[in-house]
Amino acid sequence: MIGAALILVACGGSSTTGAGLGSGPLLVGVLAPFSGADASFGPRYLAGCYAASLSINGAGGIGGRQVSCQQFDTRGEPADAVPAANAMISGNSNLMGVVGCTSDEASTVVPILDRSHVPMFCMTGQSEFNKTNFKYFHRLVPPDSFDAYAMIGSALYGPNHPPYKNVALVFGDDIGSQTFVGPAVAALKKLGVNIAINQAIHLGAASYRTEVASMLQTHPDVILTETIGSAGTYMKEVKQQNGGKVIPFIGTSATIDPVWFKQVVDAIGLQDFLANYTAVDLKLSLQGAGYDEFVTELTAADSKFPSSNATTYKGKSPTVHLYDGIIMTALAMVAANSSDPTVYNPKIIEIANGVSGATVVSTFKDGVAALKAGKSIRYVGAAGENNFNQWNNSQQGYNLVTMDKDGNEVVIGELTQSQTQQIIDAGGNA
């Protein structure tokens, strides 16, 4: 009852600055699928949270308050996500922020979190959040449509090949894959590129022999694809039926994943993989002081929470980005000297984008020190700098990448601003 009263007061109260940070432990909720078809998502977000909490607590916590992480399973579907979100809010009056909210459930949980004034960093790529009015919503990953545009950019402007003329789209029929197709088709049509075939395959099906045969008949130059979990099955057929020759294929940023790498290399062999695979990825440098701190804490999380397998996620964009999101939320609380989300939420974007003359910091510890010295700060963290637009979306542009023989990402090029803009305009930034 008291918890509920506190939340009501927090929502109704006016923004007094510096009401103090309060006392007692703080909680970050990881609201994501931990069971069901997308059960692999939750753990990678949780790992990011663990790393952030250790970094924060190691520097004395937020005004002495220690941060911990807890998972809240949405079971990967909206109807189960609603009680999960509500139970999380109702049972935890010390909720400082939430990470997760994938496309499986974002449509239902984002309004719930927003109305309860819970700052959130969401992983959904859905276009409906491109121009949202939810003040507490933050997105550090671009909408899926942007991945699609980047792939087209790769097909048209990528290094080591002339622009492809005949494009095959092979995506799964699930929500995550579906969001690429619409924008891709629109953009390709506008740009006058021929769509050889637009194939939606049923993920997890036993085989795709006939699908591949149909695709091969259209003689595409390149395949744009994601098909997480079924890529190996599909590409194996391509190689087999095409007389041992693999068609160049471009993957989304989600394909830059050791598991995907292994599946496809097992299917078509390392040689063919290296010769034919490229992908697009967010400009994640995976370097710098912020990233180093992230890796340190991730390793520490591995020993403190052994079952979390935290270090396996050290190259994964969601883990890195959500770590940054939590650090920024923590710094926002310190900067506002308040544990009232209506007060500190606006500070998150300030700290991410930075005001002019702000000191650049890359760890929570440095940020607290700078704030104590009276400076304003800009957090450039593990994933580099962020630039939130007016709709709380932030992205840094795309690299064109491939993988080396060990599955590590290698940058081979990038798209210029004008190239990217041209494709976005063609696709219609929904």
Binding site: S35, A37, A39, S40, D173, Q199, A200, I201, H202, G204, A205, A206, S207, Y208, R209, T210, E211, A213, S214, Q217, G229, S230, G232, T233, K236, Q240, Q241, G244, V259, Q263, D266, A267
Partner: protein, 294 residues
């Protein structure tokens, strides 16, 4: 035109995988009256058993044996400790279905923490690709078809020419009468679960070979196609299941060629619906299917 011939060839592989599984499933139903919704999960577990053997260096074709064994033992235990006690208690058909679903939920969710969420694959040497008149098949795929044919002939031989087979058919037709004629129905049922469990296990491994990638979630995916094939042919009829598998396997691949591939399963199921309308007891079922509600 070549696409359709190729699709026909691919259809044969699908038929092989489905038929092994569907025959086992339908025999479980026909002889023990059990719609075993945990069948797909048992396939998945057997697939993983073969996977671990394969990882340890065993050739995947030899790994069919541990797969079959695991399938047999798991199915036997499932019946002995879960299904049979409930059946003895007089639980009705629908209660049994719900129990089998609960069992499938539990098996899948116990496997998850053990094997993880990511997909796995076998090491299979596909062998040379053979092309003939538009058919495109690897040696390994032809071997799968061969395995299916052998097993179907085996089932046929078992049912028609052995005493055990006759006992099974008698138990299926009328358990009480069979018992009164001196057939040890309890023992027969145990053996049925072992045999169909072995079929289930082999089906799980073959399905894994077919798909390249499989995971815990694959179990549920197998189940519906198997049920469709079994019902199409007439539930409880092994030969019906073979025909059902044939129809579904071929139609699925042909429609992937002719229409959009995302509908290929839907077309197969639509055929099922059509058959249900025209001949509700399935293609081969005897009149027993039309008995009064019970």
């Amino acid at each position: 035109m070549n696409l359709y011939v190729a699709a026909l060839g691919f259809g044969l592989i699908s038929v092989s995988v489905i038929s092994i599984a569907a025959v086992g499933f339908t025999m479980q139903f026909g002889i023990t009256n059990m719609i075993n919704l945990a069948y797909g999960e048992v396939m998945m577990v057997s697939g993983y058993a073969a996977f671990y053997a394969n990882q340890a260096g065993v050739n995947i074709w030899v790994a069919l044996i541990p797969g079959a064994l695991v399938g047999a033992v798991l199915s036997f235990l499932l019946n002995r400790f879960l299904y049979a006690p409930f059946q003895r208690k007089g639980t009705n058909l629908i209660g049994m279905v719900i129990i089998s679903l609960a069992a499938s939920l539990m098996i899948a969710n116990v496997m998850l923490p053990i094997v993880g969420y990511y997909t796995s694959s076998y090491v299979v040497d596909q062998g040379p690709l053979l092309r003939s008149n538009g058919l495109v098949l690897t040696t390994a795929q032809i071997a799968i078809i061969a395995v299916a044919v052998i097993l179907m002939l085996g089932v046929h031989g078992l049912l028609r020419y052995t005493r055990l087979g006759k006992a099974m058919r008698a138990t299926a037709a009328n358990p009480t009468l069979a018992r009164n004629c001196g057939i040890p129905t309890q023992r027969v049922i145990d053996v049925v679960w072992l045999i169909t469990g072995a079929l289930c296990g082999v089906a799980g491994v073959v399905a894994g070979m077919n798909s390249e990638n499989f995971s815990v979630a694959s179990g549920a995916g197998y189940l519906i196609t198997i049920i469709a094939a079994a019902v199409l042919g007439g539930a409880g009829q092994p030969y019906g299941a073979m025909i059902g598998a044939l129809i579904i396997g071929i139609v699925t691949e042909l429609s992937a060629a002719a229409i959009a591939p995302e509908y290929k399963e839907v077309v197969a199921f639509a055929i099922l619906v059509l058959v249900m309308v025209l001949r509700p007891q399935g293609l081969l079922a005897k009149r027993g299917a039309l008995a009064a509600a019970g």
